[in-house]
């Protein structure tokens, strides 16, 4: 069973835009530190669900509890990585990472903040690029900065809304490795929305299929990590999920 106050409890949340009911009485319990992937057809409400978790929108009904506290509005323990890196072009790389910190914490001095941001950039493989402008970075590098910004405040919950969708295959594989390493190190709970079922399975502990405003399939992936792309178990699960999505 889930420990009291440790994980994420979503109970009976619904979200409607006018008379479009996007989420209907969705229930979900997530253990602390679990890695979840969410798949589903375009427009099924994945982003809507993440926006509720992030506190960017309010659910029509229902409640979301993180670590025993209800999520109401923006929460410094929840961070989001978007499909676009959304770096501020007028701040340098390291200043962009500092955005992730300066408001959750007033106890640190400027130089401490700079040191933390520099260290975080090192962790995402961008040592030495601190003082560059974002526009000189490649798409993958921008997403690394965005990841550093999201993780510098050590959030409990990291939401990833198709953050790799615009990257090429090699960069994606690199990013998978990076995300998994940081997840192991920081032990946050992760939600990854992706349209790539293979990616969902090779990264997550659990794969959720969102359909008709609810969770249509909740699949445990108990394959040892590291998981190769052509691992037979991964391919089997991938087939299973794809069939479930397509044959409905």
């Amino acid at each position: 069973m889930v420990q009291e106050g440790a994980g994420l409890h979503v109970s009976k949340i619904s979200k409607s835009f006018g008379h479009v009911h996007v989420l209907k009485q969705l229930d979900l319990i997530v253990q602390k530190g679990e890695f979840l992937s969410i798949v589903g057809r375009s427009g099924c409400g994945k982003s809507t669900f993440l926006r509720l978790l992030a506190g960017l929108d309010e659910s029509t009904t229902g409640e979301i509890m993180l670590g025993g506290k209800a999520i109401k509005g923006i929460n410094p323990e929840v961070r989001v990585m978007f499909q676009e890196s959304r770096l501020l072009p007028w701040l340098t790389v390291v200043e962009n990472v500092e955005i992730g910190l300066s408001h959750s914490d007033n106890s640190k001095s400027k130089s401490e903040i700079r040191a933390l941001a520099t260290e975080m950039l090192e962790k995402v493989g961008l040592a030495g690029r601190e003082d560059e402008w974002p526009h000189v970075l490649s798409g993958g590098q921008k997403q690394r900065v965005s990841l550093a910004r999201a993780l510098i405040s050590k959030p409990k919950l990291l939401l990833l809304d198709e953050p790799l969708g615009a990257l090429d295959a090699f960069t994606r594989l690199e990013m998978h490795q990076l995300i998994l390493n940081l997840w192991k190190e920081h032990q946050f709970t992760a939600f990854l929305v992706t349209h790539d079922v293979g990616e969902a399975i090779s990264l997550a502990d659990r794969v959720l299929l969102l359909e008709n405003g609810n969770i249509a399939m909740d699949l445990n992936v108990s394959i040892e990590r590291p998981r190769e792309r052509d691992n037979t178990q991964v391919t089997e699960l991938e087939k299973k999920v794809l069939n479930r999505v397509m044959n409905f």
Partner: protein
């Protein structure tokens, strides 16, 4: 590399210098009428004399004063209205249509009215300049604020930025490129308005100097005034460009080789 760069710096001055030399030769040899086209040397002479007598300095000071006060008032009000209307949709709905309607009136068409209302003193000129620069600054500030990337604002909110912090870190820098467009455009309008206003109704300033010189057929003074206006315009534009380059150094189009 270096040599070539230096040569390119000189290159652009070759033609103007050549033209001035031709002008000097033609005019001092009466190939063209030197009363209508006094040679550059005479104009320079006049400039030095007027400067030494303090007259040039006096009129220049007054013109600069009008320009600066006018753009501070008009630009300031335009900037504030642009901010408020851009930031608060309610204010935008309330004010914007009215302002856009008034914008269609050419402000120089108001000169007769302004003279009746305010006379030909300082207030009238400053009012006209302020009115002229108000609209470009307003329109571009409003537009700049309204078109800041929504995604960046949302990102800012996720990271706990709100109110003043969100404005300072995300909205204002995002609107700056557009605000600068407005500023540079309004600098041009500022001189134009001043020239017209000082020429039509005034008792001091560079425009007055030119009009006064016309009475006595002093073409050298008139041409001097025109050149001074051109230099002032260039100066203002260069200044704005410098500030812009410093402020927008993050912008890809200003990205400089380090």
């Amino acid at each position: 590399m270096n040599k070539r760069f230096r040569f390119e710096g000189i290159q652009q001055w070759v033609l103007p210098v050549f033209l001035i030399i031709i002008w000097q030769i033609c005019s001092s040899n009466e190939i063209i009428n030197s009363r209508l086209f006094p040679p550059p040397s005479t104009i320079l002479d006049t400039g030095v004399k007027l400067f030494q007598s303090g007259e040039l300095y006096y009129h220049l000071g007054i013109s600069a004063y009008r320009a600066i006060v006018g753009i501070l008032i008009g630009g300031g009000i335009g900037f504030i209205f642009g901010l408020v209307n851009g930031l608060f949709p309610f204010a935008g709905k309330f004010f914007d249509t009215t302002i856009q309607m008034v914008r269609n009136v050419p402000h120089l068409a108001l000169i007769p009215l302004v003279i009746i209302w305010l006379g030909i003193g300082e207030t009238a000129k400053i009012f006209l300049v302020a009115l002229g620069v108000f609209f470009p600054i307003y329109v571009n500030t409003y537009h700049g604020i309204r078109t800041v990337d929504r995604g960046l604002i949302e990102m800012g909110r996720v990271y706990g930025l709100s109110g003043w912090e969100l404005f300072k870190k995300v909205i204002l820098p995002g609107a700056l490129p557009s605000i600068f467009v407005g500023l540079r455009y309004s600098l041009g309008l500022m001189w134009l308005t001043l020239i017209v206003a000082e020429t039509i109704a005034t008792d001091s300033g560079i425009g007055y100097m030119a009009m006064n010189a016309r009475e006595f057929m002093k073409t050298d003074v008139i041409i001097l005034c025109i050149i001074i206006y051109a230099l002032l315009g260039k100066l203002a534009d260069t200044l704005a460009k410098l500030i812009e380059e410093k402020t927008l150094k993050w912008h890809p189009s200003y990205a400089k080789q380090k």
